[in-house]
């Protein structure tokens, strides 16, 4: 049979020499149609994900402010050895470019950037500009030093030098509570300032905790939904989906009303005599868990439900017929088959939870804020996009790493049903 096939093929191609080309043409048309179908999505993905994410990654190392606004100064400063004061050439170019930076918003950009090096830099630039003459009869180094004594300090110029290269690792380091020491080596920042390592750990802990609670609560509920008769499960499903019809802010506010000291939960417990003084249920970790689990629970239930709906009850019957206690049958036969749903649900909830911002901001305390809170702070309040991007970058990396580990685990155990 095989030999017959092998023999017949050259025979055909001899008869129809253009066959391969014809096949290619036919395939090409089919491919083009397929590409045309996915093109809108692909374009959307590029615009909505690839570009912004690349932009974020770039901004976390972007250091182009000084280089763009003061190109000559930046160039000369990178050649400067940093020991003595820079040469007159640097002073003169700097004075020129500082004056020019007033137009086109350049001053604002370098001011913001240099303030990260030293919080007094903006004031220094303002004061300098106020009295900077257009021309000088003295040297520019004398002029600048007479305007402000800080221009005679090498530290001032070193700060400028650090801001001169096109890229920097300062944001990425700062997002891990690290910095470059005066000798250029990486060191931990002052203990009083350290916060982000803990914030990352906290973010993972809260997201993990929320995911676990969602799983523990969602699994039985999804099971119930999947096993109830359709009419009843449809009604229940409406209750599951109901939260989607209310805005996230309203739901979060509702939890505050319920959980606060004078709220329904505390007054009920006190009326029943179960507690003497109100429990602190909100503006701390408990409140964060309550509100986040409530919001994310449907995202656990839906994938679980869809997988459970597809599992025939016959497997559990088979297991009991083989001698397994119904509980054992459930645990050994049913649960493993739901693992693809569990996997989908947990990864969905975890990834959504890891980026939560407004809910912990409203129902959490200061030690319950997650990475996104700081991303929002740097983006909205201080316009420090470098820091926001660096925090975002690490959040992205952490998420991707976790996903890889998770993927590997799931695959290794071959838990996903074929």
């Amino acid at each position: 049979m095989t030999s017959a096939l092998a023999m017949s093929q050259p025979a055909i191609s001899e008869k129809v020499p253009g066959l391969k080309a014809q096949l290619r043409r036919a395939e090409r048309l089919r491919k083009l149609k397929a590409i045309a179908l996915v093109a809108p999505l692909a374009i959307f993905l590029v615009i909505a994900f690839v570009i912004p994410i690349s932009n974020m990654l770039w901004r976390s190392v972007d250091n182009s402010e000084v280089m763009q606004v003061m190109p000559e100064t930046a160039r000369l400063l990178t050649e400067w050895d940093g020991k003595d004061l820079p040469s007159e050439a640097v002073f003169s170019v700097f004075a020129q470019e500082l004056r020019d930076s007033r137009t086109g918003g350049g001053l604002g950009r370098i001011g913001r950037r240099l303030n990260y090096e030293d919080p007094t830099f903006r004031t220094l630039l303002t004061q300098t500009l106020r009295t900077l003459p257009a021309t000088t009869e003295k040297t520019w180094s004398e002029t600048l030093q007479s305007i402000h004594p800080r221009w005679s300090e090498t530290d001032t110029w070193l700060a400028l030098q650090r801001a001169a290269p096109a890229t920097t690792d300062r944001y990425l380091l700062a997002a891990l509570d690290l910095q470059r020491g005066s000798d250029g080596s990486i060191e931990r920042i002052d203990e009083n300032q350290r916060v982000y390592q803990q914030v990352f750990v906290r973010t993972l802990v809260i997201a993990g905790g929320v995911t676990l609670i969602c799983l523990l609560m969602g699994f039985p509920l999804a099971y119930l939904l999947a096993t109830l008769p359709t009419s009843q499960s449809n009604l229940l499903m409406i209750f599951v989906l109901l939260p989607f019809w209310t805005s996230l802010l309203v739901r979060t506010a509702a939890w505050i009303v319920l959980l606060q000291s004078g709220g329904l939960v505390n007054t009920t417990l006190m009326t029943l005599g179960l507690i003497e003084s109100p429990l602190q249920l909100v503006f701390n970790r408990i409140g964060v868990f309550f509100a986040m689990v409530h919001i994310l629970l449907p995202f656990m239930i839906l994938p679980l439900y869809s997988v459970m709906k597809g599992i025939s009850p016959v497997y559990q019957r088979a297991a009991t017929s083989l001698g397994a206690h119904p509980f054992a049958a459930f645990w050994q036969i049913y649960v493993p088959q739901t693992l693809s749903g569990v996997a989908a649900g947990t990864i969905l909830v975890f990834i959504m939870a890891i980026g939560y911002y407004i809910t912990p901001a409203l129902v959490g305390g200061p030690s319950d804020q997650m990475v996104s809170y700081f991303v929002a702070y740097y983006t909205n309040t201080t316009n420090n996009w470098g820091m926001a991007a660096a925090l975002g970058t690490f959040l992205l990396i952490a998420t991707l790493l976790l996903y890889l580990v998770y993927h590997k685990l799931v695959n290794q155990k071959q838990l996903i049903r074929n």
């Binding site: 918003g105 001011g111 630039l125 009083n192 350290r194 409203l362 420090n384």
Partner: protein
């Protein structure tokens, strides 16, 4: 002001933004001055107190609009040279940044000629104060036994047991802590500018750390006070006044309060500079400011306006002479420069 106004704003933003864009393009051809504020109930009060009377009195056209404090929009306008706004209300940090970046025209105070009528903080390089709002110590007079007179009393857990509300963040919190620790209000920013001062503030916060319930939104403190969640809280005075109007017996301790201003600025590249000056001058008068403040509990920058208000209204104003005793203005320059560092340190402290 962004934070305290956001909830007021959102209702009308979409509508008025659309209006602003439409009218802004119209304004260019008609050479009408465009005045942009934060809208909301403050914008309504401005309409009554400033916009309508200004048009009536001068016969000039004025196109009002509002925005949500999007600084990037102003920056884009100036950088592209397509300036359709003339007078814009900004908060103090944006005033400092925008002035530094050259987005606002320097104010010619001699030409304006009202420098001596205003409180000192209203007079800046690039902005003229429009109103004053304050972060104060507030409490529920029906619930609290005794009267807290200072931040030292706020820190006094024995006399006033219970939870306290403070804004989640370094700004205001560190100033109050230093005042509680005995730093006189006039020295607060000098002390806070030193490493020792910062350490001192955090050490003071440590004393009541367990008893603080941190608020995020301006609406929370009056709500918590009414619900009895906290016995005292720092709060924006406007929020307390609103609760008072709803019949809540919330009280304010004005001593050692921190006040801040919103400012009128003239955008760099505006073609309506003369009208802008006239408008700002008009809006800074005692009588117009009195109308504004009688509509919304933000203090006039012109102290003479206080006299035109009713006794009850006047007493709610951050700029009432009695209320200014012991109060200090927020040092915006300080927070623009050191804000990030101190916020990071605050968050580091909060988790310890």
């Amino acid at each position: 002001m962004n934070m305290k106004n956001t909830l007021l704003n959102t209702r009308k933003t979409a509508l008025v933004t659309g209006l602003a864009i439409a009218t802004a393009s119209l304004a260019l051809s008609a050479q009408a001055m465009t005045v942009i504020s934060f809208g909301g109930s403050s914008g309504d009060a401005m309409q009554k107190a400033y916009y309508a009377p200004f048009v009536e009195k001068t016969g000039k056209t004025l196109t009002p609009g509002d925005y949500n404090g999007e600084f990037a929009r102003i920056r884009a306008m100036v950088e592209t040279g397509n300036v359709s706004w003339d007078v814009v209300e900004v908060e103090s940090p944006e005033l400092v940044r925008g002035c530094f970046e050259g987005l606002f025209q320097p104010i010619d105070w001699a030409k304006l000629g009202i420098e001596d009528q205003l409180i000192p903080e209203a007079v800046t390089e690039c902005g003229v104060g429009s109103f004053v709002w304050s972060t104060v110590l507030a409490y529920d007079a029906d619930r609290l036994e005794g009267t807290p007179l200072s931040w030292a009393d706020f820190w006094d857990l024995e006399t006033f047991p219970g939870k306290r509300g403070l804004r989640r963040g370094a700004k205001y919190t560190l100033e109050f802590a230093l005042m509680a620790d005995g730093v006189s209000s006039s020295d607060v920013y000098d002390v806070l500018a030193t490493e020792e001062g910062v350490a001192r503030a955090f050490a003071k916060l440590d004393e009541i750390k367990e008893h603080i319930q941190w608020w995020e939104a301006g609406a929370q403190p009056p709500q918590w006070l009414v619900a009895g969640d906290v016995v005292m809280s720092s709060s924006y005075n406007g929020r307390i006044a609103a609760a008072q109007e709803e019949g809540r017996n919330l009280a304010i301790t004005w001593n050692e309060s921190l006040y801040d201003l919103d400012y009128w600025t003239i955008i760099e590249g505006s073609t309506q500079v003369e009208d802008a000056y006239e408008f700002i001058r008009f809006a800074s008068q005692a009588d117009t400011q009195a109308v504004y403040s009688s509509n919304i509990p933000y203090g006039p920058v012109n102290p003479a306006a206080i006299g035109a208000l009713s006794e009850a209204q006047a007493k709610r104003m951050p700029t009432h002479a009695d209320n200014l005793i012991g109060a200090i203005a927020v040092n915006t320059d300080f927070w623009v420069d050191f804000g990030e560092e101190l916020e990071q340190r605050f968050n580091s402290w909060a988790t310890r």
